[in-house]
């Protein structure tokens, strides 16, 4: 059986950053990139299922939509134990929102026909929490969001899982496969890649595809295929703390003074 795990290369901002000339995103020169934190957990969950099954019984395929720079994210997953990667990109995909990304991933899933798709519950850069469930909607598959536990025996037609709700309450449910589950932080302890894993990863295959290869038209990707449009991005003017300056000793002394004032 096959588990497909879509992963995203996400940006975090440097201490100092500037907007792009068009004012619709941060200039990439001021960003650092890594795999989406939530995807570390979905990848780990897939690899755990693979390791618990008989050798060769489960294949883990990682997929990303992004330019060549996103290869490092796929390699990281391959180093941890995923079997192969797929990277989809061409210039027409620039400006795709989460729904356009989901449409691309849905086409990859139609080609690959996995029994299970595990995505991160959201991304650590924009936090839309859209891609996984939009993907399920486009495929017409059953889905569960914000999964904090899952129990799956490869070969079975369903699996049981728990969703983490507000306040730490969890809902237990079973779901028919194939299905899409979005994975919450803390479901497992993601591993670090071993040196041996990193060496092996470079030999694992990464297939490259374009929207044309997937049978998608130009109007189905990029801004044309999106459900929202960024007008502008800006640094808001917000209230800011009264900063306590001085040496650590002076700062601590002021904190203690505030504690005494408030506590009486």
């Amino acid at each position: 059986m096959k588990i497909l795990v879509p992963v995203k290369r996400t940006a975090s901002l440097d201490d100092e950053f500037e907007m792009r000339d068009d004012g619709r995103d941060v200039d990439a020169d001021f960003c650092e990139y890594d795999i989406n934190e939530f995807d570390e957990f979905s990848v780990e969950e897939a690899i755990k299922i693979k390791e618990a099954a008989a050798e060769g019984a489960v294949e883990v395929v990682v997929v990303t939509v992004g330019s060549e720079d996103a290869d490092e994210v796929l390699r990281k997953c391959l180093a941890k134990g995923a079997d192969r990667g797929i990277r989809v990109w061409d210039d027409a995909m620039e400006g795709s929102d989460q729904i356009a990304i989901a449409r691309i991933l849905a086409k990859v899933i139609e080609r690959e026909q996995p029994e299970l798709v595990l995505t991160g519950a959201q991304s650590s850069d924009h936090g839309f929490a859209q891609t996984g469930i939009a993907l399920a909607g486009l495929l017409g598959w059953p889905h569960g969001a914000v999964v904090s536990f899952l129990d799956y025996t490869p070969g079975s037609a369903s699996l049981s899982f728990r969703r983490e709700l507000e306040g730490g309450l969890e809902q237990q449910a079973s779901i028919a496969l194939p299905a899409v589950l979005t994975i919450q932080l803390g479901i497992n302890r993601p591993r670090y890649a071993s040196l041996r894993g990193i060496r092996q990863a470079s030999a694992k295959p990464v297939e490259e595809l374009t929207h044309g290869d997937l049978g998608l038209g130009d109007d189905q990707v990029g801004e044309a295929g999106s459900l929202s449009h960024v007008r502008r991005m800006y640094v808001p003017e917000r209230g800011r703390s009264e900063m306590i300056e001085g040496t650590p000793a002076q700062q601590a002394s002021r904190i203690l003074q505030i504690i005494r004032e408030v506590r009486g």
């Binding site: 201490d15 449409r103 959201q122 469930i133 889905h143 730490g168 932080l185 929202s228 800011r240 703390s241």
Partner: protein, 322 residues
């Protein structure tokens, strides 16, 4: 295309007041939407929730009879889809809740609706609906619009709007939906583990540690400091996820609300919106963080840009002298 449709939430037989925050959001754009505000209640006995949503701003309540009380994304999706097709609202609002996460994106993708999530401000600019949300750990805001979309679906961040109040007398009508073969089956609830005497909701003084603590071995010194200061020790999500402190100490949306807190010290917590949900209402917040741009400094009254370990050592030494 006119008017606003809001999807009400309930869980374990209890109405979820975040629905009234969505009603308040609707009030701010009602004039621009060109129609009334309708709230749909999807439940086995939807009539039971009608009084809860009968606030002044609501013109109509639509009751939809669902097969089960527990949330099923397929049922909600089918019901809202049928409602959109029948009523053609210009805006559909849901709370940005865990249940909405499970249904809103599928609905938007299936119907090709204009779509944005975790929205905390919305307005009409001319005829164009504009939704504002945050990105990159709350460091920037983003304005989104939805060119050419006749219906726009938005999920509303909790605590962004004050719940709508005032008594109203909306018209109530019933809306039938077709039956579905269930694909997901509810099997039960699991309550959070017992708190073992840890009382975050009741504590008046909380000192929380976050990712900045770095290592499990460093937790102990902050536990000692909390004791010296007379504070209840709290934490942010990554600390509980790593098992360094029990879940009962986690402040935030999936943890506890610091409901009675008067003084909150955040050590090495960047201030993710999920954490802020649990503490940003506290009157006196002191944040210690090495990143001067951390979003915690937008909610804290007092800020220290510095090393949380150095500050902790000084606090302990000086508090011990008094």
């Amino acid at each position: 295309m006119a008017g606003i449709l809001i999807i009400a939430e309930h869980r374990q037989g209890v109405f979820r007041p975040i629905t009234l925050e969505a009603v308040a959001a609707a009030e701010t754009i009602k004039a621009g939407s060109g129609g009334g505000v309708a709230v749909a209640v999807i439940a086995p006995q939807p009539g039971a929730y009608v009084p809860w949503v009968s606030v002044a701003a609501v013109d109509e309540v639509i009751t939809v009879t669902a097969p089960n009380d527990e949330f099923d994304p397929d049922v909600t999706q089918a019901a809202v889809k049928a409602l959109i097709e029948a009523r053609k609202p210009s805006v559909v609002l849901m709370a940005h809740s865990v249940d909405s996460w499970a249904v809103a994106p599928a609905l938007a993708a299936e119907l090709g609706l204009g779509f944005a999530t975790d929205v905390f401000d919305l307005c009409y600019d001319g005829g164009e609906l504009v939704a504002t949300r945050a990105a990159y750990k709350e460091k920037v805001f983003v304005e989104l619009d939805f060119p050419g979309k006749e219906t726009v679906l938005l999920t509303i961040r909790s605590n962004a709007f004050k719940p709508a109040a005032g008594t109203g007398s909306p018209a109530v009508s019933d809306f039938p939906i077709p039956g579905l073969a269930p694909r997901t089956r509810h099997q039960g609830w699991q309550e959070p583990p017992p708190s073992g005497g840890i009382d975050i909701p009741g504590a008046e003084f909380i000192m929380s540690v976050g990712r900045g603590v770095g290592d499990e071995a460093n937790i102990e010194q902050f536990a000692e400091l909390a004791e010296v200061l007379g504070a209840t020790l709290g934490c942010s999500r990554p600390i509980a996820d790593n098992g360094w402190l029990p879940k009962a100490r986690q402040v935030g949306q999936s943890g506890k609300l610091a409901a009675n807190c008067k003084l909150y010290i955040a050590m090495g917590i960047s201030g993710a919106v999920q954490h802020q949900w649990g503490m940003k209402h506290v009157e006196n917040i002191i944040a210690v963080n090495k990143d001067a741009d951390a979003s915690i400094f937008t909610v804290a009254k007092y800020g220290v840009v510095g090393d949380m370990f150095e500050i902790a050592e000084e606090l302990k030494a000086q508090a011990g002298r008094n």
